[in-house]
Each structure stands twice: as C-alpha cells, then as structure tokens.
C-alpha cells in the first residue's frame, strides 16, 4: 500500500514516536514567556566558548545529549543523526556529528530544519530503515546576524518588520520504544518564489510557502483544520503570519484561534525588543520540543500541525539581485 496521500503528503502506517526532546535556550530567550519549558537556559551567549560558532555547536551537542539522557539512550543505540543549521556548509551540525559519532545526514532547510528532520526521520523509521533517529537543529543570533546581515556591534536601526534570530538548540529522539506523541503524517513543500527580495523582511517572503504547504496538506489529507488543537507556523513573525492568515483566508481556509506562529510565541513582543518576532531554526525547535512537547505530556493538546518555514537564499544570491526562494514542510503530530 502506498504511503503517499494526494500530491505531497505521506501518512505513516507505523507512526514513530517522539520519545524524548532536549532544549537549550539562549539568555535572551530565557527572558521570554516560555522560559519554564526549556531544559537549559544559558547565562552567557558565548557559553564559555572562544567563538559564537563554537557556542552554537556546544548548544546543539548539549540539546542532543539532553534528549538522549531523558530517554536513557546512549549514542550507540541511535541509527541516524539528522541535523542542520543556518551557517555556511551547516558547520554546527557537522561538528556536533563528530562529537556524537552517530551516522549523520546533514540537512539544509534553513529555518524549516526542525520540521524537515522530523518528517524525514519519521519516513526512515516507518520505512524500516532505522530503529531510532535523532533529529536536531540550532541557531544563534550572533552567528546568523554576522553571516546574513551586519556585525553585532554595528549601530544600525532595525526595521519594524525585521525579526530576531533565536539563540537556541532543540533535539528530538524518534523511535518506537518508549512513550510520546506520534508523527503521523508529513507534507513536504515545494520551493515557492513570490518575488520577495528583501532579506530583512523574511516573514513576507516565507508566508506564501507556508500557505502553499498548508493548503496542500489539507487538500491531500481531506482533514478538517478544526480537528487540530494547534496549527503553528515556524518563524513567520508578525508581518508574515498576518499575511499568511490573510492569504489562507482568500483561498477559502479560515484558521481560527488555534493558528499560531512559533516566532511570535517565543518572545514577549511588548517587552522584548524583537520587532516582528523571532526567526531561525531554533524558533520552531524550542517552541515544539520545549513548550508544545510538554503540552503533549500534560495532555493539553492532542493534535498539532507544525509548518516549518525556511528562506533558502544565500548572501551571494540576494546580493546578485535574486529573489528569496522559500519552503515550508508540515508535520502532523498526534498524542
């Protein structure tokens, strides 16, 4: 029997569980409304490392170790490590893979990496190619700002639609032994380009990708969006999220109060000076593996659709005047 449903969705016959998670948040994220849901909050954005890049990979390693510890797993019991980050050639994931010593599949999905690795990991497990998979991602404000924008000490005024790269790491251990919410379906998105060029307005660039994948997911599965306790986009921020809701509604899909965005949940927009909200791989990783995973454990939610969003441009591509290609992947998680 084919597991493929509709055009882009795969439903799992033997859905794997998220048996444990590990999260490490930056100090600034620790001041946000979800601080109680993170396993660890750093006191130093450098995490006692010589460089921010080293700090980033130390966070990813720590998150992975926490996920393994929570389920009492050792690295040798994990078949595959699926990870990615925002830095050129995904160095944070590559270097973490040395420390962990688990066979590694490096992924690049920009900020959609959490959803991408969950979806791919679940496919590998359901297909019987692996028994246990570790899916993880990380982002760091200081490394991302340097690579994509300006030096951290540069005194420029930020635009009101700009987002704040989340410092944090999240890991999820997927398998069949143990308890936890199940990954029951995944919709892999197409790359969408609706002509956005402004790398400071990522939300508006990514919104059409989220719209495309959400519409496709419901078209493929025929499910009613109301059956979800929560539908969250990855990191659209205020501007992108409003555009996304508006576009969905114009396409006949009205999502109500159970529709949220991880980039908006992670910060207190009134108190924390993050303009349009959070962005980065860690936005969805921290919210889903920290906040929402705990909600699953407390049985406050039973059905979640995570729509991870990512902007797939590089500094070279936008300086050469290219549009920003964007993607979104949807993962259905059920108790």
């Amino acid at each position: 029997m084919s597991k493929k449903t509709g055009k882009q969705t795969y439903q799992f016959g033997n859905p794997p569980k998220i048996i444990s998670t590990g999260t490490v948040a930056g100090p600034f994220e620790g001041l946000g409304p979800l601080h109680e849901d993170f396993d660890e909050v750093l006191t130093d954005p450098r995490n006692n490392e010589a460089t921010f890049e080293k700090a980033e990979r130390s966070m990813l390693t720590k998150a992975c170790q926490l996920a393994l510890d929570h389920a009492s797993y050792s690295t040798s019991e994990v078949d595959l490590f699926l990870a990615g980050d925002l830095l050129n050639q995904i160095i944070s994931a590559n270097f973490t893979a040395i420390t962990l010593g688990i066979p590694f599949l490096g992924l690049y999905g920009a900020c959609s990496t959490a959803a991408l690795s969950l979806g791919l990991g679940a496919m590998l497990l359901d297909g019987g190619f692996a028994g246990t998979v570790l899916a993880a991602t990380v982002s760091h404000n200081s490394t991302a700002e340097r690579q994509y924008r300006y030096p951290t000490e540069y005194g420029g005024q930020r635009r009101p639609y700009q987002q704040w790269t989340v410092t944090g790491a999240g890991a999820a251990l997927l398998g069949y032994h143990g308890e936890g919410p199940k990954i029951t379906a995944v919709t892999f998105g197409k790359v969408v380009d609706l002509g956005s060029k402004d790398p400071l307005n990522m939300g508006a660039a990514m919104a059409p990708a989220a719209v495309d994948t959400i519409l496709q997911h419901f078209a493929d599965t025929g499910w009613d969006p109301k059956t979800f306790d929560l539908i969250v986009t990855g990191d659209l921020g205020k501007v992108g999220f409003d555009l996304c809701r508006q576009e969905l509604s114009e396409n006949g899909l009205d999502l109500g109060a159970n529709f949220h965005d991880c980039g908006l949940l992670i910060y207190d927009l009134n108190k924390q000076d993050v303009h349009a909200g959070g962005s980065g791989c860690a936005a969805s990783a921290l919210v889903v593996y920290g906040h929402l995973y705990k909600k699953f454990q407390r049985q406050e939610i039973n059905r979640l659709l995570l729509v991870g969003t990512g902007a797939l441009h590089s500094t070279t591509s936008f300086q050469q005047g290219e549009n920003i290609p964007c993607i979104a992947h949807a993962v259905r998680i059920e108790a």
């Binding site: 010589a50 460089t51 890049e53 340097r146 300006y150 030096p151 951290t152 000490e153 540069y154 005194g155 420029g156 005024q157 930020r158 635009r159 009101p160 639609y161 380009d193 609706l194 002509g195 956005s196 307005n201 508006a204 919104a207 059409p208 501007v239 409003d242 555009l243 508006q246 576009e247 000076d273 349009a276 050469q320 005047g321 290219e322 549009n323």
Partner: protein, 151 residues
C-alpha cells in the same frame, strides 16, 4: 544587478506584502536624529574650541585632532558594546557624523577577530566602510579636479 520581471502572481503578492509592511516611525526617528546629531556636533565643536585654546592653533587646524577624538570615542563606545544601543535611538544622528564611520570599522574588526589578525581583523574591518572610502576618494578626486581646472 539582475532585475527579473515579476509574474502577475508575484506582482499581486508583492503589492499586498508592501501594504502589510509596517512603516518605521519616520517623525520620531527624524526628531531623535536631529537632537542626537546636534549633540554630537556640539561635542565636536566643543573639542575644536578646546584644542584651539590648549594647542594655541586656529580653529581650522584644531578640527583634525577634534575629528580624531570623535573617531576614538565612536570606536571606544563600539568596543564597550554601548554604540549599537545608543544608535538604536539616535539612528542617523550617530551614523552620519564620523562616529558612524568609526563604528562601522570597529564593529567589523571586532566581529572577525577570531579569523586572525591579517585575514580577519585587517582584511574585514572595511567590509562596511570600504564603499564609503571608495566613494569618498572618488568624490574628492573629481572635485579636486574641478577645483584645479577652474580656480
């Protein structure tokens, strides 16, 4: 820069996205830039007066050490991590005077110091300021030429 033509669908979305874009508080920004820029210039003028008194030189010659002091101030504030917090409110008031130039050089140098002294600090400290220097030199050359020809 390549300017690819937008399809009608892209155009339609871009119109909507542009409308959804929140505008910066132009008036407030202009006002704080006016005040903070004025304060920076007042400090500069005070330095010129001070140097011209202490060094007993005409104000025109005191301008150079005063500029150097302002650059030093901008650089120090950047190094202590204060400049970007001030600039958040002051905006162009700090960016347009020579303090902004100092900040762009020092922030780049700081950012890349882990990549070594030669290829990191020295090579990359002008990533932001390089364009300013190039245009400055070019403009100076053109106006120097005009001045030499017609004066």
């Amino acid at each position: 820069m390549a300017k690819a033509k937008l399809t009608p669908k892209q155009q339609k979305y871009q119109t909507k996205a542009k409308k959804a874009e929140p505008k910066p508080p132009y008036l407030r920004n202009a006002f704080s830039a006016f005040v903070s820029g004025g304060l920076v210039c007042l400090l500069g003028q005070a330095l010129i007066d001070l140097y011209s008194q202490v060094l007993k030189v005409p104000p025109k010659e005191a301008a150079n050490p005063a500029t150097a002091t302002m650059i030093l101030l901008g650089a120090l504030l950047t190094g202590f991590g204060v400049f970007d917090n001030l600039a958040k409110y002051a905006g162009a008031g700090l960016a347009v005077p020579v303090t902004g130039f100092a900040n762009s050089v020092v922030s780049s140098a700081l950012e890349f110091r882990e990549e070594g002294l030669v290829y990191g600090v020295c090579a990359k400290m002008f990533t932001l300021a390089g364009a300013v220097i190039t245009f400055g030199v070019m403009t100076a050359f053109v106006f120097g030429l005009i001045h030499a020809l017609f004066h």
